[in-house]
């Protein structure tokens, strides 16, 4: 629909600009706050223009040398923990979902539909619902404060299994038969045909699950008590000291901005693949 109506143009632009401002202003404030001293930020009104302490605040955050009363874990270390756990969660989810979808779609085994529905039902049980038993299991297995504890309970994914199942169902039956004619066994077919065909779906899932893994809050809050194992999201929380103690908001804000960079990078670099994976089926 191509229409030339100046008033509509103005209106739609106004709405869009307003939307951008609503999203961008808090980000801008975070940035401004990360460039001032802690004293300057707590003044009312808070400064709205960038200050001159940018490098000090960021190096304080990165090396954990801030002077507040909260946790002083270095951001570099925390980001590494976040990165490793987000990657384990993402790759683990993709690997397990691919395999379980493969089993459900291509194999006829007893109780197939039972397992299918069992996976389906776990959609209704997010981490928060099963958090107590899961915590008990993880702590009994001695996995607190470890990468295994941070990632394993989050790896199973009904959503990803479903996405792959739906994709596998669209792969033509003749392709399976052609592979059988060529003498490819099930795992060979999986490796040589299904996985390469699913690569756009895998890329889309990678983006979604990486952000999911990076942004985990409640679970890491429970299973990590050691500063060395804090993911960055928990790090930010621990930097905010309770009660009347002074919080170094400038360093907290610097940390928050740093923590936003990797997911933003993943989205920007994989945007093309991400969109392709959601809209396009290459067959």
């Amino acid at each position: 629909m191509v229409e030339r109506r100046p008033l509509l143009d103005v209106l739609s632009h106004a709405v869009l600009i307003l939307g951008v401002l609503v999203v961008a202003f808090p980000l801008y404030l975070t940035f401004v706050a990360s460039t001032h001293t802690a004293d300057a930020i707590v003044q009312a009104p808070m400064p709205l223009l960038p200050g001159t302490h940018l490098t000090e605040n960021y190096s304080a955050a990165w090396y954990g040398t801030g002077g507040g009363n909260g946790s002083k874990a270095p951001v570099g270390q925390m980001m590494l923990v976040s990165l490793i756990s987000a990657l384990i969660i993402t790759l683990g989810k993709i690997a397990i979902s691919l395999l379980s979808a493969f089993a459900i779609v291509y194999f006829r085994f007893p109780f197939r539909m039972f397992f299918f529905w069992a996976i389906f039902i776990t959609l209704m049980l997010p981490v928060e619902v099963r958090i107590l038993p899961t915590y008990k299991v993880v702590s009994d297995l001695g996995m607190l404060n470890s990468y295994a504890g941070l990632t394993v309970p989050l790896i199973a994914s009904a959503t990803a299994t479903f996405l792959f199942r739906q994709f596998f169902l669209t792969v033509p039956e003749e392709l399976v038969e052609a592979a059988r004619m060529d003498g490819a066994g099930p795992m060979r077919f999986f490796k040589d045909v299904l996985v390469p065909l699913s690569k756009t779906s895998i890329a889309a899932l990678f983006v979604i699950q990486f952000i999911y893994g990076w942004n985990q809050y409640l679970w890491p809050l429970l299973v990590t008590t050691n500063e060395n194992m804090y993911p960055v999201v928990i790090g930010i929380k621990r930097m905010i000291s309770g009660g009347d103690a002074q919080t170094e908001w400038n360093v907290v804000m610097a940390t928050a901005l740093l923590a936003m960079i990797p997911p933003a990078l993943v989205v920007m670099l994989m945007q093309k693949w991400f969109v392709k994976g959601l809209v396009d089926t290459e067959k």
Binding site: E174, E177, R180, M181, D182, L197, E282
Partner: protein, 338 residues
């Protein structure tokens, strides 16, 4: 190269009372190097029969042997066969070369051999310039040739074709038909070809199997099938327009059906009197549909005349006479040829 024996093969889906039998005991002997076409309407079981030979469907009872070896329980890849699918079933993410080489790679054929075999197949099929391309960068006809190439490189004993031409346009189909014939002459590999198109069946087949509702109605050369159809089904399925089947022709015995093809009826001055109902112009020839009202009832009769012949007026009465040596007689109850 190998002969194929099909012995009393039955296919049913499900078990017990709910079992749905789709193939009712087919027997056929296909000679070494022969090109046999299985033809029939949709749902007659022709693809199921082919897929049982391929090993993609289980055989409910009976035996299929290829080259003297019963293959009932062998995996498709162990039967020494190659199949061309209707939708080509090329691996979309592999290049043309990899598509053709995949089966050989799995069979652990040395790389140098794979290359010579693929290159040879590519030369036969004129696919040389496309070896590095992906299937989506090819036209329908080229994809079809890649699918055939994939079958050729395996150097199988039997080729199976499952309606490989039905996704091509008319011109390409005629051309590919000739290519398949040429290929068969050059390689001499036993071939089974499934189609619902009688022109394909007639032109390609050395012998053809006509199937209907899971039963093999006739197995013979195209000439036999055309000149001596074994049943009324074959008579009406092969030949276009179909044979006129007169259920109550006045001078025939009771309980018989008289068959005569539209091209074997000549317009004369006396004989069967038809009232002209419709005339269709096909180019080189013309179809005249007429109603023959005789004492025992009405019959709709189609005649094929040359385009140069005078056009009969609608509603006029014309007289036709069948060529006596070209008449067929069938039993009305069983539909079998008498």
């Amino acid at each position: 190269m190998a002969a194929i024996q099909i012995r009393n093969v039955v296919k049913r889906y499900g078990t017990g009372k709910t079992a749905n039998q789709v193939i009712h005991g087919v027997d056929a002997d296909i000679g070494d190097g022969e090109f046999v076409v299985i033809v029939g309407p949709s749902g007659c079981g022709k693809s199921t029969l082919l897929r049982m030979v391929a090993g993609l469907e289980e055989i409910s009872s009976g035996d299929i042997s290829i080259g003297g070896r019963i293959v009932n329980d062998l995996e498709p890849s162990e039967r020494d066969i190659a199949m061309v699918f209707q939708n080509y079933a090329l691996y979309p993410h592999m290049s043309v070369f990899d598509n053709m080489a995949y089966g050989l790679k799995i069979a652990k054929v040395p790389l140098a051999d794979i290359k010579t075999r693929v290159d040879k197949a590519a030369r036969i099929l004129e696919l040389g310039p496309f070896l590095a391309r992906k299937p989506r960068e090819l036209s329908g006809g080229q994809r079809q040739r890649v699918a055939m190439g994939r079958a050729i490189v395996r150097q199988p004993q039997v080729f199976l074709f499952d309606e490989p031409l039905s996704n091509l346009d008319a011109k390409l189909r005629a051309q590919t038909r000739l290519e398949i014939q040429k290929l068969h002459r050059e390689l001499g590999i036993t071939s089974l070809f499934v189609t619902h198109d009688q022109v394909e069946a007639m032109t390609l087949a050395q012998r053809m199997i006509v199937m209907n509702a899971g039963v093999m109605e006739q197995f013979g050369t195209p000439e036999e099938v055309y000149t001596r159809p074994a049943t009324t089904f074959v008579a009406s399925f092969i030949g276009s327009p179909p044979m006129n089947l007169l259920r109550n022709a006045p001078d025939a015995k009771a309980g018989t059906i008289v068959g005569v093809r539209p091209e074997h009826l000549d317009i004369t001055d006396s004989g069967w009197g038809l009232r002209v109902e419709a005339v269709e112009m096909l180019g080189a020839e013309r179809l005249v549909h007429g109603l023959w009202s005789h004492g025992a009832g009405d019959e709709l009769v189609t005649i094929r005349t040359e385009e140069s012949h005078a056009v009969p007026a609608l509603g006029a009465t014309i007289f036709v006479r069948p060529r006596p040596d070209r008449m067929h007689l069938f039993d009305a109850a069983s539909g079998k040829r008498l």
